[in-house]
């Protein structure tokens, strides 16, 4: 199964490319665009990124494997991220973490069999003053309690 960017995404990549004097610099933006389209970064996807930018595939791979927000396997439709770093921990993040684990029946970096949820214990998200917090895909939920977390998880269909 070969991967091709949509026309729309090719335009976005072109726009990203114009921000920088080199094509290589557009790799992070392009990886994001690819991940958004395909859900995760397979070998074919990485090859196509290299093709489109005219860079070496090794460069794509080295970036993909360095940054934690790029995924080489399919994550859940709802990727739940729980911050357990100090400021959150002081305000009960580990209770939230345990609650989420129990509720989803998942351990760190696991995906539910139906593909609906995945779980990640994350480092400080820059929400320390509104702790504890979780993020669902791109959205932050702050000032949480165990009850609120339950509500949020239940609202995700």
């Amino acid at each position: 199964m070969s991967f091709k960017f949509t026309e729309e995404n090719l335009t976005l990549i072109d726009k990203a490319r114009k921000k920088y004097p080199t094509a290589l610099a557009a790799v992070m933006d392009t990886v994001y665009i690819a991940q958004e389209q395909n859900g995760y970064l397979s070998n074919e996807v990485m090859e196509e990124i290299a093709n489109v930018l005219g860079i070496d595939k090794v460069n794509v791979l080295s970036v993909v494997t360095f940054y934690t927000m790029y995924h080489t396997k399919r994550m859940g439709k709802y990727h739940i991220q729980v911050c357990t770093n100090v400021s959150c921990m002081l305000r009960g993040a580990y209770e939230i973490w345990d609650k989420v684990k129990e509720k989803l029946g998942l351990e760190n970096m696991e995906v539910s069999p139906d593909g609906k949820f995945s779980l990640e214990e994350v480092e400080c998200m820059g929400a320390c003053g509104y702790a504890p917090m979780i993020a669902v895909n791109e959205d932050y939920y702050e000032n949480l309690t165990k009850e609120k977390v339950e509500e949020i998880l239940e609202s995700l269909k």
């Binding site: 290589l24 933006d29 460069n59 100090v86 002081l90 480092e123 400080c124 820059g126 320390c128 791109e138």
Partner: protein, 446 residues
Amino acid sequence: MVKISIMEKIVLPEILNLNQIEVYLANYGFESAKKAFSQTPDDIIDQVKKSGLRGRGGAAFSAGLKWSFMPKTTDKPKYLCINGDESEPGSFKDRQIFEDNPFQLIEGVIITSYAIGAKVAYLYIRGEYHKWIKLMQKAIDIAYERGYLGEKMKSTFGTEFYCDLYIHKGAGAYICGEESSLMNSIEGYRGYPRVKPPFPAQRGLWGCPTTINNVETITNVPQIISKGWEWFSKIGAPKHPGTLLYGISGHVNKPGVYEYPTGMLLTELIYNVAGGVPGNKKIKCVIPGGSSMPPLRGDRLEGVRMDAESLKEAGSAVGTAGIMVMDEDTNLLKVLIRIAHFYHHESCGQCTPCREGTGWMEKILHRILEGNGTSKDLDLLISVANNIEGNTICALGDAAAWPVKFMIERFRDEFETFVKKEVSLPVPNKVHSMRLTSLPLADLKK
């Protein structure tokens, strides 16, 4: 109770909807840039130098001095990077600027670019800040439309100078906040810090002269230009003037970001600004500038002020002014393990002391948590920390070493309660043959 003086806010003025362009313009928006263009770049650098503005990203280095390192005569393009990676645990201030005052940041970028002669600026924002990246991009788009960025600037300001501003979205790596790692990340490489020298002003992005400043640092610039360096230099602590966005988190009643002058009493910030400690508990420990900075004892906070000099004297550093408060019931061993885990996870792995040392420290701390530590382990931790400090390419090594070293030194009394006094004899362990262990022999025979 000490009364907090009412003062002007520089970075986050209390003006409703200031993040809307019309409101920003109605409040002298882009007037500073206009003023700046009527002066020479050297004049601008000089004023920022004299204002005493120091970096808000961690090291508190003079902004004007940093700009003056940019070569005047070069045929290479020059670049400005604005550091919004904001990944230091306990720091959550730059996002407030993206949200509430994006145009002042953009105006700061324009003035700084003009001063250092950069045609292109990259605003590096951590990838997790999707929402704030969108807000910032919207503000940048509006600035382009209105002719405050890009070629249209020429007619808006009636100058030859113009500059572009692009957002570079990070993807989850604390190390990319380190300036040379940030540049590698922008260039499309792994975020590995570079050996210094050469410094960014000599050889930065794509080998060209580059200046890197924190988001809050840059957001201060327009006000310095419009109200004058003398005005700015008189606010707060004389050697570290201006305001700080204090991010107060942990065990306080009203956590959040508060803008006040530098040099505020730490106790005033905790008790008056942030509403004190829940349940009126005592404070055991405060980390004053983000998790990399040496922790302070709760019983030694009296008189400690939040500026670079005072905090140095108190045995810590101002860092990002992210104040983490821990009450008397906090288990410092667990806090330290969490911090050690963070640095181990975020070490880029280039230098052996950092890559291995952060792992060892985490392991030893876990051994202590499991009840198998001895007093000697505490000394071992300090020794590992000392061997990391100063022996690495970038300051993440120091950032990993300091919390461990100073937490144990300053709270030795508490850490001694987690370990056995007597040194247990080394007996073979089922897994690692010669590891120090206190497993009962009976257990081994199973």
